[in-house]
Symmetry: C2
Subunit: 186 residues, 2 copies
């Protein structure tokens, strides 16, 4: 079974007009995705932003739940947030995973947009079950990962679609659904 | 295909010590679950709280995105929030669904706790595909729906489990995963 890592990138991501921006770190993203990561056996969840002030914010969230008041108030939250790591950008994440897992991870981007040559959920699920290589799944905030990120990954995962034509899940919800499809016992 | 409705109950729910409380309405719950509901073809999403001040808050959120600044800033959010309805409690929700769908809904509670006689995901998925009856799926905030609710529903859905023993998804993530398991095209 491949070691699975997640990264939530806050730069470079798109805004609603397709411009490249740096989005703000959202407290709820860190909590929700950490809890999903913990549920589905993820090894580490990277919150990546080049903004140093936001590193301080995330560090404060983690500290509150790891050793502060939150650690005794809610132990399950402490368990989940123990998976959270701070990073500057994608390169920083890849280096950190490689250092921990002993090999450069296979990097897979998620996107709500359909397109050519997407890897399917069942195909990636099988690969995660069989591969000895670490895998890193990327999520974008804002209106999604910038093309410069999509162009350099090893694969793009097919979008989550429901029975409607609406494809605007929150990144928190999308991360939970994607992990469930890739990792829930069957 | 059964018409599917969701309700997020803020009372009676449990706190971390198992006491019955009324939880506060969280802005992010309304947004995220509305977006998941829209994605998975849900007919209506009830936000139920007996606290009238919180009705005013939710009404304000909906108004902002339906006709206020948000409606032009982000049309996809408007689409999702159009599914949101305010209610006082479970009875209020049931009456509203019955009025719209023409029949009393089959009420199914979700819970993160395992227990006897839970209906499985594939069983409920099949029932939703085949049944002409409306179905109402209940989600609890806080530490989950109070026993007085669980005791009066038609069925309890099995909990979402991953490959770990950790079962503390946020209600936003759990709702997305449950809808995906019940309604995603296969």
């Amino acid at each position: 079974m491949a070691d699975l890592y997640l990264a939530l990138l806050h730069h470079p991501v798109l805004d609603k007009n397709g411009l490249i921006v740096t989005s703000a770190v959202t407290n709820m993203d860190v909590h929700d995705i950490a809890r999903s990561a913990r549920t589905y056996g993820v090894r580490g969840f990277y919150v990546a932003t080049p903004v140093k002030t936001l590193h301080a914010l995330v560090a404060k969230i983690i500290e509150h739940w790891a050793t502060g008041y939150g650690s005794t108030y809610n132990e399950t939250r402490k368990d989940a947030l123990a998976l959270v790591r701070l990073a500057t950008d994608l390169d920083d994440v890849i280096i950190s995973v490689e250092r921990e897992a002993g090999a450069r991870p296979v990097v897979i981007a998620t996107s709500a947009r359909p397109g050519p040559s997407r890897v399917g959920f069942s195909q990636l699920r099988r690969k995660l079950e069989e591969s000895p290589e670490p895998h890193l799944l990327l999520f974008g905030t804002g209106w999604g990962l910038a093309p410069v990120i999509l162009d350099r990954v090893d694969a793009l995962l097919e979008p989550v679609v429901g029975p409607s034509d609406y494809n605007h899940l929150s990144v928190r919800s999308a991360a939970a659904v994607i992990l469930d499809r890739l990792r829930a016992p069957r």
